[in-house]
Each structure stands twice: as C-alpha cells, then as structure tokens.
Amino acid sequence: MSTFTAEAYQNEYLPLDGTEVNAIVTVTSTGDGVPAPQGGGAEIVILDTSGSMDVPRNKIAAARDATCVAIDCIRDGVAFGVISGTDKAWLVYPRRPGGLLAASTETREEAKRAVRELTAGGGTAIGRWLTLAAELFASAPAGIHHAIMLTDGENRQETEAELDAILASVEGQFQCDCRGVGTDWVVSELRRVASTLLGTVDIIADPADMADDFRSMMEAAMGKATANVTLRLWTPQTATVAFLRQVSPTIEELTDRASATGALIADYPTGSWGQESRDYHLCIKVPPRAVGEEMLAGRVSIVEGDDVLAQALIKATWTGDEQLSTRINREVAHYTGQAELAEVIQDGLEARKSGDEATATFKLGRAVQLATESANEGTMKLLRAVVEVDDAATGTVRLRREVADADEMALDTRSTRTVRLGAGGP
C-alpha cells in the first residue's frame, strides 16, 4: 500500500484588490517498493500492422520483437491481450473464449507465437483499436487497466471528429502510453490520444530502440501500485478555477477534465501511481477582501475511491505591504516558465512549418532562453538540433537549414517535459 503526501508552495499574500491565487502542489507517492502482488489489473499491447509497417522491412519485425519483450515483462496473474490494428481492429491474443487470460509461462509463450505470425497490410484507424481495447478491458478483472499503443502513421481511415468521439467514449476506462515509430505519424494526434488516456507519448525514431522502450514502459506499468487516483479540489463559494495543470514531470492541461462531485468540489483524474512525485499548478480566482483578512482559497485532496490519502491547503491573505504581495513564489515562477517553454516550442515549430521564419526564430529563441534559465538540458539539447544558438542568455538563434524530421518531431513530442526547480535537468 502506498502512502501519499501533498505539499503546497505559494505566496499567500495578495495586494489590495488582488484576486489571483497561484500555488504549486507537489504530490508524492511512496511505498515499500514492492507493488501489491495482488492479481488483478490488465495489460493490452496494441500494435499497428498497417501496410506501411513493412517499409522499411525491419519496422514490423522490430514491433513483433518489442511486443514479445513487453509480454515477457507482464507479471504472473495479470490479464493480458494483444490487438493488431489496421483500418480494422483484430484480436490477436487470446483467440480462445474467456476474455483476456492471466499471464503465465504458458499463456505468454502462446501469445508470443501469435505475435510472431503477424504481418503488415491495410490502413490505420486508431479509434477502432482503442474501441476494441475498451471492450476487452470492460470484462477484465478490476485493477490497473493499461495499454501500450504503437503506430507508424497518420490516422487515415477515421476523421478527427470520429477519433474525438471515440476518445470521449473510452476516456477513463484505461490508460494508454502511445509511441510513434518513424516520422510519418502526427505528433498532435498521438499527443491527444495519450493526454486523454492519461498516458505518455514519445517518438521511437529508430525501430532498433523499440524493444528497450517497450520493456521500460511495461516495467513502469508493473510498478504502479495505486489505480485511479483523483485530485479533488475544493474552492470556496464565489471562487473559480482559472486553471489546473500538471507541470511535472510533463505539462498536462487538466482544467477541462474536471468532473463535479459537489457545488464547490471538482475531481480531476490522475490515473495510476507508482513511487513517484508530480507537481500541479493551480490558479484560483477569488473575490477581493479587505486588508488583513484571510481565507482558504483551495483545499487539494488526493483521493482513491472514498479515501482521502493526502491534503494540502492553499490560502489567501490580503495585505497592504507591497514587499509581501509582490514577491513571486519561486516554484510558481519556475513552472510558469516551463509551461511557456512548451508553448513557444510548439508555436515556433508550427511557424517554421508554415514558412514564417521570423516568428519561428523569435519563438524558438525565447525557448532557448527559457530552457537555459531553468537548466532544462534535455529540451536544450533537442532545441540545438533545430536552431543554431548564438547567445542563449538573450535567446539569439538562427534556424538550421537542414533539420532531420526525427529531430523536429522529437522536439515537438518532448516539448512538454519539464525539470524541477534546481534539479538541473535529467
């Protein structure tokens, strides 16, 4: 069983007429290091087997191998299955009745034999793959429901609206880590799937790296100990939530993901947790009060089922002392910068694609400046593949003429990865 802690970082002092309360809440889950060995939970690997997986030939072979590696990582007793996806969704394993089967030496070998027979052909309809996964999870044992989805191409046999409708219908039923192999897939599309399904998204530029990535994804999934954790936010009457976003380890907008459980209470999904720590940036608007008054602007509870696992308080105190009210909390400032960093990278790459070099240079220059200030070395390294840096401190850069597609997509995909204050980068 995991133990959760929640801690708020903020400057609670507001000036006369001040209405905006900002805070960073750090939520940490610690355990005894061993996830509960209860059976339960289910894993599904969704493998793109569209025709393009044959080009180059090693893509489908690497995907088969990686899937077998992932299957080997599934703990005994966890129900599992494999879906192959084209413009339709195919149940590769299990093929006999009884729904998903519990992992054992025997079933793992059986599944790997079925996976090794897969060949490539057909189109791409990601939504259908997810629909079949949801159908299988629906009758799986309770617990953590997690999928890995690999694709190499654009979602051609479904419209954006169709995919959105399907995402809305399967949301909350399972978590899905998404991977794009090669450079023919669409970053924004896969990010949308991963964000909705509370999973990670990344590029696997070289098929040879797929097996290692699948292994670490499945190992991470097996390390999760607590399913369906909710961040519950209470705000007082007359207050509104301006935004709530996860800011570490990656930026994930949660503002619109709230489900109300009471007039003043909203629940935000955070998925399953292993031993890890995540940061959330909350911005709450409150009506101004007289100098000297204080109020509780927010109560953050970490909830599993009906159990409150941890709590943090966000306060507001009105003061006439400008020295107190103008101070910006370091954590808030840092993550405001990290959120801007992700935004200017995505804007800059968008401008670069549309040929607007002036905007691209300005935005990516600002990104270099922000990455340098926050010592986000991971992002800085990716930026250097796209721009030539003349002066990092002022954000003076030149766009590189020749940029590999994979480098550009890696920067786009990983633009939401943040560093912690003073951590100095990964």
């Binding site: 192959s84 084209t86 339709k88 009745p97 009884g98 052909g121 009758s139």
Partner: protein
C-alpha cells in the same frame, strides 16, 4: 463533527469553512445537535435501496416485486416464467434460418491484414425461433450475456465484437439487421459501405451479412 463559521455556515471541515473559506475560530462551538440529525438522515436511504440481485434495478421503496424484472424481494425468488402463447410442449416452427460460414472471397477482398484464414471450418445452421438473435464473440465470462449466434470457437473471428449485431423479427415474420455498435462494422451483400450503427435494415431471403475477417451470415427462408 461540524463547526459554524463567522458567516453562519455550517462546515464539515473544522479549520476553514467549507462554504466560504473563512477561518473558523477555535472557540466556535461544534454544532453537534445538527450533526447528529444529519447523520440519521444520511444513513437510512442507503439501506433501503438494495438493488435487485437479478437485473440490478434499484428497488423502489419497500415494493415486494422488482419493477425491472418482477423478482420477489420477499421470497427471494426469480419471477415465474410467463405463460407461453403456444401452450406448453408445442415447438415453435422456424420459418427462417441463419447460416454462418467463413468466406474466403470476403477475407481476400479485405486485402492483407496480417491474419490467416482458418482451415477446416464448417458451416453452422441456426433456426431462427426467437424475436431477437444476437451475433457476436462471447467472452465466456460468468454472468455475461452470450450472443445466440456465438462466433467463439477454435477459430473465433478476430474482427468480431462481443455483441456485434442482431437479427430482429419484424411484424411480417422476416428479420432485420441491426449493428449493435460493433468495432469493425457490418456490411450486407456486395455493398462495401457498412450499415449504420443501431439502425435496423430489413433483410430478404438470401441476403449475406458480412462481419469480421471472414464471417458471413446468410439468411434463408425455410
């Protein structure tokens, strides 16, 4: 335990008011009388609304019989079977049948999808006696609905959904097709466009319903 905040709100949280966020003074007396009243009100409805063990519909008040399926809460018994119009012992004569087969041409027309055609599959015939005949791939899990035409088997069609489609008897005794929201869709005869989900489409003698990777269900008037 509850407390009263300076604005008069009754708060379940004792540090800050859970309505307006005002600090609650340590001196403010707990409104214990109110708390015990609301506790009593809270507990009673939960025990009354036991769901029906058969159909899970909520029990309405102290009703003896379930509104959903007629389950007898008092005797804890399932509803008695409805008397049949045909009279006991009479067999319903099917005038339609469904023939399930694996169609190689249909499989080939899909193009290479990375899966193999099953060897040695034989036709299966289902006389249609029910008003509703569902087609799908059962998961064989206890308590789950099993489609009347179950595509599960050694060669379960990997592209069929759990409850894929249904045959529904019409007023004239013929059957109509309804896609039950399948993942991969359903087509009829040689029309490549899938039928609309959850909409009935009348079927004629000899119509072939196609679904999954190779499954063809042919309707025949006997």
């Amino acid at each position: 335990m509850t407390a009263v905040c300076p604005n008069g709100h009754i708060s379940a949280t004792l540090d800050w008011c859970d309505t307006c966020g005002d600090p609650i003074e340590a001196a403010s007396p707990p409104a214990s009388d109110l708390a015990s009243i609301s506790d009593e009100v809270d507990t009673s409805p939960a025990t009354r609304r036991e769901p029906c063990p058969l159909c899970l519909a909520p029990r309405s008040g102290d009703d003896r019989y379930c509104e959903g399926c007629g389950y007898d809460f008092l005797a804890r018994a399932a509803p008695a079977a409805e008397p049949s119009d045909e009279g006991s012992g009479a067999t319903v004569v099917a005038t339609w049948e469904a023939i399930v087969s694996a169609d190689r041409q249909q499989f080939d027309a899909l193009g290479n999808q990375g899966i193999e055609f099953p060897a040695g599959r034989v036709e299966r015939r289902y006389p249609l006696t029910l008003e509703l005949v569902r087609i799908g791939r059962s998961r064989g899990r206890a308590g789950e609905e099993i489609p009347e035409i179950d595509l599960t088997g050694a060669d379960a069609d990997p592209g069929a959904s759990h409850l894929h489609a249904a045959l529904e008897r019409q007023d004239d005794g013929a059957y109509a097709l309804r896609d039950l929201g399948s993942t991969n869709g359903t087509t009829v005869n040689d029309d490549p466009a899938p039928v609309s989900k959850q909409v009935t489409r009348p079927l004629a003698d000899g119509d072939r319903i196609r679904l999954g990777a190779w499954t063809t269900v042919t309707l025949r008037r006997v």
